[in-house]
């Protein structure tokens, strides 16, 4: 017997659950700027979530998928992406969309059931929210292929959940990203749950990052509640991608602090202790304690920022609520570049019906 392959998965953590530094800090983390910015954006995301859930509860928004617990992953990754990089998100990445410049009112529009929430000018070439699990991973590979074919220096980022790692799309994507050495970074938000199905029922593999080994690509596991570890992994992965050095799979270990969506009731399947443990590790408090300890953030900063955030979000809500729905004709106007005759007729009927107020 000989050994024909050996592989391993590193785990990165710089700041533990008690906000203690456990690793030599990189230079950028020795100054306040980036970390404070991360913190501020994570707070916006968390506040936005609370508001969105409240809107849903009062019938002013559709089913909503909270990002509580993955703010660090989203904020850090989106911050490190360049404008010309391409984000191929799943449905839980509004924090990324926000950091990439999408208006909060546009995010609300999406969750309010309006396709215009997928068409923000700020989204540029980013993909819209992806609901069919894991399919986005292959779109990211397609985008990355185009980038490679055109010899561009851009990276593609595809986000997915732990549940999504069981679906063929993800594994096919890892494989083609490997064999074509595509400029793509896959980031798993391993929040331990796929609706009610716990991580342990998705795979017996001790890490999800090791799925990279099957595809012959680099895989890493990072503490997804630790912005510093995230920054280090994601930044290097993005650089490798842009430099044509191939794809990376990053498993960011987090915890879903909310129900799956507002349509879910996690108390049916999740023990309160598990949730409590999740809150003990959560990214915002962890960073706040660190910033406090460094003297980079204090109560008064906090109060001011919360005020600012509240205003910002309220403005977004107002703008969202004031946005009138699209006309009935919009059901037809974006289906094809040129509307076929049969649909022109159906469009007339839909407009007439709408004009009559029959609906």
């Amino acid at each position: 017997m000989s050994i024909s392959f050996e592989g391993q998965i590193p785990f990165y953590q710089y700041m533990d659950e008690q906000s203690e530094v456990v690793n030599t800090l990189p230079e950028w983390a020795l100054i306040d700027e980036t970390l404070v910015r991360y913190y501020q954006q994570m707070v916006i995301a968390r506040q936005f979530d609370n508001k969105a859930i409240a809107l849903q509860r009062t019938g002013q928004l559709g089913t909503y998928a909270s990002s509580a617990g993955c703010e660090a992953i989203d904020v850090v990754t989106a911050s490190l992406m360049k404008k010309e990089d391409v984000l191929v998100p799943y449905y839980r990445n509004h924090a990324m969309q926000m950091v990439r410049g999408m208006k909060l009112s546009e995010v609300l529009l999406y969750w309010g059931g309006d396709e215009r929430g997928n068409s923000s000018p700020a989204q540029g070439e980013d993909f819209p929210n992806c609901v069919p699990i894991a399919t986005q991973c292959l779109h990211a590979c397609g985008v990355a292929s185009a980038i490679k074919i055109r010899d561009q220096q851009r990276a593609t980022v595809s986000m997915l959940g732990d549940g999504a790692t069981s679906k063929g799309d993800f594994m096919e994507a890892l494989n083609v990203a490997g064999v074509w050495q595509l400029p793509v970074v896959f980031i798993i938000n391993n929040n331990q749950w796929a609706i009610s199905v716990p991580r342990a029922l998705q795979s017996i593999a001790p890490t999800l990052a090791q799925k990279a080994l099957g595809a012959g690509i680099r895989g890493e596991q990072v503490d997804g509640n630790d912005v510093i570890a995230l920054h280090q992994s994601v930044e290097q992965a993005l650089i490798r991608a842009r430099e044509g050095k191939g794809p990376t799979l990053i498993e960011a270990v987090s915890y879903r602090l909310s129900d799956h969506t507002t349509a879910d009731d996690a108390t049916r399947y999740r023990h309160p202790d598990a949730l409590k443990t999740g809150w003990d590790k959560e990214p915002i408090k962890r960073l706040r304690d660190y910033l406090h300890a460094q003297g980079w953030w204090n109560e008064s900063n906090e109060t001011q920022w919360l005020q600012h955030t509240t205003t910002l979000i309220q403005e977004a809500v107002d703008q969202y609520l004031e946005t009138s729905p699209q006309p009935a004709s919009a059901m037809f106007d974006y289906l094809y570049a040129e509307l076929p005759l049969q649909l022109k007729k159906q469009r007339e009927i839909a407009i007439a019906r709408s004009d009559k107020g029959v609906s």
Binding site: I133, Y269, F332, Q346, S359
Partner: protein
């Protein structure tokens, strides 16, 4: 669950699942969130508790895998009931459904078979996220070797699901989620199965045939009531089985009335309604006293929910179509 209390469709489905699992050890359940959570619509609630994790399996997240596993189980003589969380997520499973489930008996000349039920909630009207509201029953209805069944009431859901489970061939069982909880009926838990290849005539009438299925039966019956007030007697037919289609009942009804409106939520083109209208064009032309009218969804992508109400066919459209059909000389 008391059988004397009126229950809604999703409860009737749950009742049928309990019944089938109690009476046949070979019946097993699998899907995403069907175990501990009891299904996102609670259709499988209590089953894991009653029958254990071995028979009620929370699967990894992969519909293709769910279908493939189910085929293997079925070939071994189990009777798997697979849940696809929403019909919009069944597409990864198409290869297994079309190339294997529907063909296993045929390909092996009966050596193996595939007694499998795939359940999936479908259709619009509950303001759900993207991809959750489409009506794509026609994709399945055209596949030789499959049966495709859609209930329209709690009682029929119970009886048809039991039949689907007992049936030795693969059945796609589509549950119109808009009416999951909209109607309560007394459902006797007596194990009584309903036939899988028969339309249900819900209302007899000599003037015009209204043909529909699933959630649109609600609006169709409303329209029939309204038309009755205006002196038009509608025959209301619930197609129930999209494949095999009970052509005889439809032909007999239109043979009697000479007029027909087909009502569906699905887009118009190449649909089950197309098949029914084409049947009439081929085999009932001389009976038809007016063009076949069709009330259907538009040939568009189902709009995201803020425009959903603009898409859904309405009772008033059925009434208008029926009146126009009646006026035809």
């Amino acid at each position: 669950m008391s059988t004397q209390q009126a229950i809604c469709m999703v409860e009737a489905i749950n009742l049928a699942l309990h019944h089938a699992m109690r009476n046949d050890d070979d019946v097993v359940l699998l899907g995403e969130d069907v175990g501990t959570n009891g299904g996102v619509f609670r259709a499988t609630i209590g089953l894991k508790e009653s029958f254990g994790m071995k028979r009620v399996m929370d699967t990894p997240l992969a519909e293709n895998m769910i279908a493939g596993l189910s085929i293997g189980m079925a070939a071994q003589g189990l009777k798997p009931i697979a849940e696809i969380q929403f019909l919009g997520f069944i597409f990864p499973a198409m290869e297994h459904i079309i190339c294997h489930a529907a063909r296993l008996r045929n390909r092996t000349r009966g050596r193996l078979s595939c007694p499998l039920v795939i359940r999936a909630p479908y259709g619009g009207g509950i303001h759900a996220p993207e991809h959750h509201s489409e009506s794509t029953e026609a994709i399945f209805a055209q596949i030789p070797g499959l049966r495709v069944v859609i209930p329209s009431s709690p009682q029929r859901a119970y009886g048809l699901l039991l039949s689907a489970i007992q049936n030795p061939d693969p059945v796609i069982f589509l549950e119109p989620k808009r009416i999951y909880r909209s109607q309560n009926q007394i459902v006797e838990d007596n194990g009584q199965a309903l036939p899988l290849d028969t339309c249900f005539t819900l209302r007899e009438g000599a003037d015009i045939s209204l043909i529909s299925w699933g959630a649109m039966i609600k609006e169709t019956l409303e329209a029939a009531d309204h038309l009755a007030d205006e002196g038009i007697q509608c025959e209301v037919i619930d197609v129930a089985s999209m494949n095999p289609l009970d052509r005889e009942t439809i032909l007999a009804s239109v043979g009697k009335t000479g007029r027909c409106v087909i009502i569906q939520e699905a887009p118009l083109s190449c649909s089950v309604g197309s098949e029914i209208a084409s049947l009439l064009a081929s085999e009932a032309l001389m009976d038809l006293r007016a063009p076949v009218a069709r009330v259907a969804g538009y040939d568009t992508v189902m709009p995201y929910f803020r425009l959903e109400d603009q898409y859904m066919p309405l009772t008033i459209q059925i009434i208008d179509a029926a009146k126009r059909t009646m006026e035809f000389a």
